[in-house]
């Protein structure tokens, strides 16, 4: 952990940072969860040693490449691969087979992908089940930097132990290490797993979302939005799904009262919903 818990920015400065980003790049972070986003800013500020907020604001305004790096760094990565192994078992043993019963080809969308952990997890699942030809995966990401990071397959070392443990609980065929290699002190995942994945740079207002989707896997990303934005995005998801399509959220997420118009809970333990 290369930042201190002590450094705190005030809400006034927080709002000023959001304002300069909105004015310069038309990215609106107003509807992001305040405490979570503020913490992300605090960490990135320390990473770049820009503790005088005016310095950060000027740099954001003037340095476009820095802004893209900033975007990548404030996005929160998923924690590990095969997080919540019981969900992946549920997908492998129940959900995907029942979906493939109804149609021979499926399109799965993974929105707001940051580290690629969920993407590679899904790819490994599909490969082991021999389903790679029947399932198309599309993933949307915030910017090009994130896309190239995911394509590189680089996998943070501190996630390895817990991911291998998860994979064992998932009862995969073999070992997780079959799917990555150590190259120069880094762990790199097998990029052939994602060679057919479609990568799209998502517009901030979600207006270029994929359509005709059968399953959306969006776990622990909506938690960084306010209720308002959460509901807006769920509406986008609902529009993008075919009727009877499925949505999977994180274990401690709910669609909420307003969006329960569009989604019916079909598996409480695995936070799986069906489009009404």
């Amino acid at each position: 952990m290369d930042y201190s818990l002590d450094f705190e920015i005030g809400i006034v400065d927080f709002r000023n940072i959001i304002k300069v980003i909105k004015d310069t790049y038309d990215y609106d972070f107003t509807d992001y969860s305040l405490i979570s986003l503020k913490r992300r800013f605090e960490q990135v500020i320390q990473l770049h040693n820009l503790k005088h907020i005016d310095l950060l604001i000027d740099r954001l305004r003037e340095d476009k490449l820095f802004f893209q790096t900033f975007l990548q760094e404030i996005a929160v990565e998923s924690t590990e691969m095969f997080r919540d192994p019981s969900l992946w078992r549920y997908m492998r043993d129940e959900l995907l087979p029942s979906m493939l019963n109804e149609s021979s080809k499926l399109k799965i969308w993974i929105p707001m992908c940051v580290s690629g952990d969920e993407l590679f997890t899904l790819a490994i699942l599909l490969k082991e089940q021999g389903l790679m030809n029947q399932v198309d995966i599309v993933t949307t990401c915030l910017n090009e930097l994130i896309i190239s990071h995911i394509k590189s397959g680089i996998f943070k070392n501190y996630k390895i132990e817990v991911s291998e443990d998860n994979f064992a609980r998932y009862q995969g065929k073999g070992k997780l290490s079959d799917y990555y290699q150590r190259i120069n002190d880094q762990s790199v995942r097998d990029s052939s797993l994602i060679k057919n994945v479609e990568f799209i740079k998502q517009n901030i207002n979600f207006d270029n979302s994929p359509q005709d989707i059968k399953l959306i896997l969006c776990r622990n990303q909506l938690i960084y939005f306010t209720q308002n934005l959460h509901d807006k995005v769920l509406k986008v998801f609902s529009d993008s799904l075919r009727t009877g399509g499925h949505l999977i959220l994180g274990v401690k997420e709910q669609v909420g009262l307003i969006s329960s118009k569009y989604f019916r809970l079909i598996n409480e333990t695995e936070s799986t919903y069906k489009k009404i």
């Binding site: 952990m1 818990l5 002590d6 705190e8 969860s33 305040l34 405490i35 979570s36 913490r39 929160v76 990565e77 998923s78 924690t79 997080r83 919540d84 192994p85 501190y158 817990v162 609980r169 622990n220 909506l222 938690i223 960084y224 306010t226 209720q227 959460h230 994180g250 274990v251 401690k252 997420e253 709910q254 909420g256 333990t269």
Partner: protein
């Protein structure tokens, strides 16, 4: 006077927390936050075990759930639990802090920022330093700080680390902590 109670603990704290929940006044008018280090894969059982003898409902909050008085909220496994302004929970899947997720430091810090001096922070027995910085923050904002007496702890590391970093208001044995909660309604006006 105080608007929330924040309890953090790890190894050796389960029984203490269960006992606290058993003596806490049933109609307590503030929320109690529990951040206990826990096994990542065990999703159910922990809340039920704590609820057994608890005087108040024990729940794991969902993301964005409103904070209600008279309940004990337990940080869910493999998430950080933040206290958001406007009386809400915000969950996060950021990197572990002090090798822990949920991290006691993060919950304590966000609670201190939200409740300022109207917060009580308690650190119990545990095996790492998580929470000592958070308790310092609560103290800096003027909240009340209590640490379980290290001599009384199953594992001393957490409480000793907390005491090293902050001059706390009270160092209590478990019995004194329980007395404090029994009297809570009468002293918290």
């Amino acid at each position: 006077m105080y608007k929330a109670i924040m309890i953090g603990g790890s190894a050796g704290s389960f029984q203490v927390v269960a006992n606290i929940l058993g003596v806490i006044p049933r109609d307590i008018e503030i929320p109690v936050f529990l951040c206990l280090h826990r096994l990542k894969h065990v999703r159910s059982g922990f809340v039920e075990a704590l609820s057994l003898k608890s005087n108040i409902p024990v729940v794991e909050p969902f993301d964005k759930e409103p904070i209600k008085a008279g309940r004990a909220y337990l940080a869910p496994a493999n998430y950080h639990m933040f206290i958001e302004l406007g009386n809400r929970f915000a969950l996060s899947t950021e990197e572990p802090v002090n090798h822990s997720r949920p991290s006691i430091d993060l919950t304590f810090i966000t609670a201190a920022q939200a409740y300022r001096n109207k917060l009580i922070g308690i650190i119990l027995s545990g095996a790492n330093r998580d929470g000592s910085f958070g308790l310092k923050k609560i103290s800096e904002f003027g909240g009340l700080t209590i640490v379980q007496d290290p001599k009384d702890c199953e594992v001393k590391t957490m409480t000793e680390a907390a005491l090293q970093l902050t001059k706390v208001d009270h160092v209590f044995t478990v019995d004194k902590i329980l007395d404090y909660f029994r009297q809570f309604k009468f002293t918290n006006t």
